[in-house]
Point group: C2
Chain length 189, copies 2
Amino acid sequence: MKALKERILKEGRCLPGGILKVDSFINHQMDPVLMEEMAEELVRRFSDVRVDKVLTVEASGIAPAIMVGYLLRKPVVFAKKAKPSTMSDFYTAKVFSFTKNREYDICLSRNYLSEGDNVLFIDDFLANGNAAVGVIDLVSQAGADLVGLGFLIEKDFQPGGAMLRSEGYRVESLAIIESLEDCQVKFKE
Amino acid sequence: MKALKERILKEGRCLPGGILKVDSFINHQMDPVLMEEMAEELVRRFSDVRVDKVLTVEASGIAPAIMVGYLLRKPVVFAKKAKPSTMSDFYTAKVFSFTKNREYDICLSRNYLSEGDNVLFIDDFLANGNAAVGVIDLVSQAGADLVGLGFLIEKDFQPGGAMLRSEGYRVESLAIIESLEDCQVKFKE
């Protein structure tokens, strides 16, 4: 997606370890107009599948997910990274975060994901795919169907995208970064 | 706001300790169409103030804030509840959570809040006002101006709203709950 790629080139900053910081417009400060345009593009790419529910993980997945849900007129659920004290009956899965070098649990109330639901997962980044694996686990526990995974930015030099596609999942990413070598952003064509 | 109050009466569940659970449409599962309508109403109520930036706190403030920012065509920033490993220069403030009975830090990069910015704070709930107090601290550290605080739901039987209004802040809440006695939701007229 052209507008996103241009913005990454203009404002993205690369840090050691293959990290691309886009916190001026995606995951700390957010540009809501670009966010809506990205949601439109994700909706367009998944226009041939039936979606009953949009699923994401807090926190930086919420903004793109709510925009996608708004355009689809479907409910959006975000998995929580800690079990809320007021939640009693939930699905849970473990996610390993490379950035934080620790494992955490994601939780989702059983009330909001049901057998037969067609689920579209939306998140800001696809890198190692750990959050996606946790979400696949939650969706499977619910007996729901994951009809696709949509990401704003995918890092092709990390294994998440290849792993998910090889397992037969439909993955759409609006900007795919082939490499960040020497801090040069190179997009996959 | 009528649509919100009706939804609270229909789907809200009351728990011991003055807790109102609205996680079927606001803060776990979200109804994006209602979210957009609530954002429209908040924008209407603050239509006489100049807003440069919308500020919220992760995670459940993000959905209403991104919708408000989209309608205003202004950037949205969410304060983080933990210092990200890749953030170096930030404002920080302490927030006490009654629900979780512990104190946590909220963090905001210095890049995204500046002296003279007119800031509108948006969040899902106003109860004791602890998150708001932390945000007031962050905004003050930046030398920015807090032009208003907008909430979806305010619990009038907890002290946050009265405290903020007595300090001269402009507070708008779309549904104000006077009491939850005997698990009956009573709205303030």
